[in-house]
């Protein structure tokens, strides 16, 4: 249980970090569209990766959330 809580907290911090860096010049440098990846502008491919990572984190979250099975156990 303790380990699950740790993993869940890591997921939360990672999700928060991903959201924060999205709004920095690391992902959205103003007026800059290079370097492109496969012709896709910089901000689009970086933010695409972030969106996918957030969904992956959600999936991991379903596995490690410490209280997720509480409802079923109590029923």
């Amino acid at each position: 249980m303790k380990q699950k809580k740790l993993y869940w907290n890591i997921c939360c911090v990672t999700a928060l970090l991903l959201c924060v860096i999205t709004f920095t010049p690391l992902v959205i440098p103003q007026g800059v569209s290079n370097p492109k990846l496969g012709g896709v502008p910089y901000s689009l491919w970086t933010s695409f990766i972030i969106a996918v990572l957030l969904v992956v984190l959600t999936f991991i979250g379903t596995r490690v959330h410490p209280g997720m099975h509480k409802e079923e156990e109590e029923l």
Partner: protein, 474 residues
Amino acid sequence: MIFWVWVFGIIYAGLLVFASLKSYKKGRTSEEFMMAGSNVGLTLGVLTFAAALFSTFTFLGMPDFFRINGVGAWIFLAVSDGAMVFFLLWFGYHIRMKVKGMEFRGVSGLIGRCYQNKWAGYVFFLSAFLFLIPYVGIQIQGIAIFMDAAFPGSLPTWGWSAGIVLIMLIYSEIGGLKAIIFSDAIQGLLLLAVIWIIGWYCLSHFGGIGPMFDRVGEIQEELLSTPGPQGLLTPQFLLASLIAILMIPVTQPQFTTRIVVMKSMKTMQLMAVSLGAFAILVILPTIFIGMYGVDLYQEAGRDEFFANAFLYDQPNAVAALAIIGLIAAGLSTTNAQIFALGSELRGLLGGSENSIMTRTKIGIFVFSVIAFFFSIIVIDQLVLLARVSFAGTGIMGPMIILGILSNRKVSSAIIYISLLGLVLFLMSLGGWIPSMYFGIRLDLLLFIILGIVALVSHLTGEKPQLIKEESLKH
């Protein structure tokens, strides 16, 4: 095209009739009518949440938003949705634990009980009413404009709007929330299929993703980066939008209801993951449609772009599918929103069960009529109005999260401060007060202030008294 509209229209209408009859049950309880018996499985859960979230706003609004503001629109919606599904996992757990063992009668009723103060419910209901009705109105208007373009001169725009409202009312009256959930499932699949068919066509126009962005760069380089040619997509705008979208499962009652009516915690968590994947799949082709619009219809108005990209440039069967898909998208979302308002009203009413149900149904009718009038008078960009709707209801987020999460007896001050925040936000929308303070947007400022107030309220709240075992013995 008319032939195909009839073919797809009859299939869609048949599915709707089947779904409403399947959901209709004589002598059903109000719980079955309003909450679908709180027994929704994974597939239906994903599709109903997705259909309520992705509607005319995504189908028409996002391509237009990409066309005008460029690639930063992806962050505005897709990254925000990614964060929202993670947040949904966290919030979904807490709200389901909170309502366990009690009858859920909407967020208004729940929050009133949490604070033991009816004003909390009234303030939430007010925000939901004020910000959902115009949003419903503009979606109805979107469909009406589209229908007018498909069948010019056959009906006035308001006639299409009235028809949509009428179908929505009859449908929800017969089948209740369960019928709405079934129609959402049909719409969710239809939306995904149609948006990809049209998106693929638009991508083929360029011959690939690379050539598409090369061409767009030649036309207007600013579309390939933030803040976009209009200067709208600044980090601050995107951050405030992310917070507003994060708050959707908390403050938009149609979504909160869907979290609660899921069969189990496990289906709710899987729904969150699938919704995230669905969001990426649905938003991706809207980039292609938007970029197509940049190439061919950059100078055109909104309605002209919609009519050309979705109808006139498509093969007849695809154009017909787009019409039916759009009707389905608009119907299910507006239905969900109006029905959720009815559900919220139900949570605030007292009296016998029969009288509550009658007054709730009258409420749903009144909300639909008001939404119809809004559909005639509202003129705005779909996406921006949707964002205002998310931000407006989002102001209530800290109050609701505090009420649900805090195990302490917290002060009611946040209820009145949230009401004040709502009034200030409305005044800024009306242009009576500025929308920027110290270089910060008012909505972002309100989220920050209310978040701090919620935290302080929790920390200064009275801790629950624990009765010691020893004192019980004496």
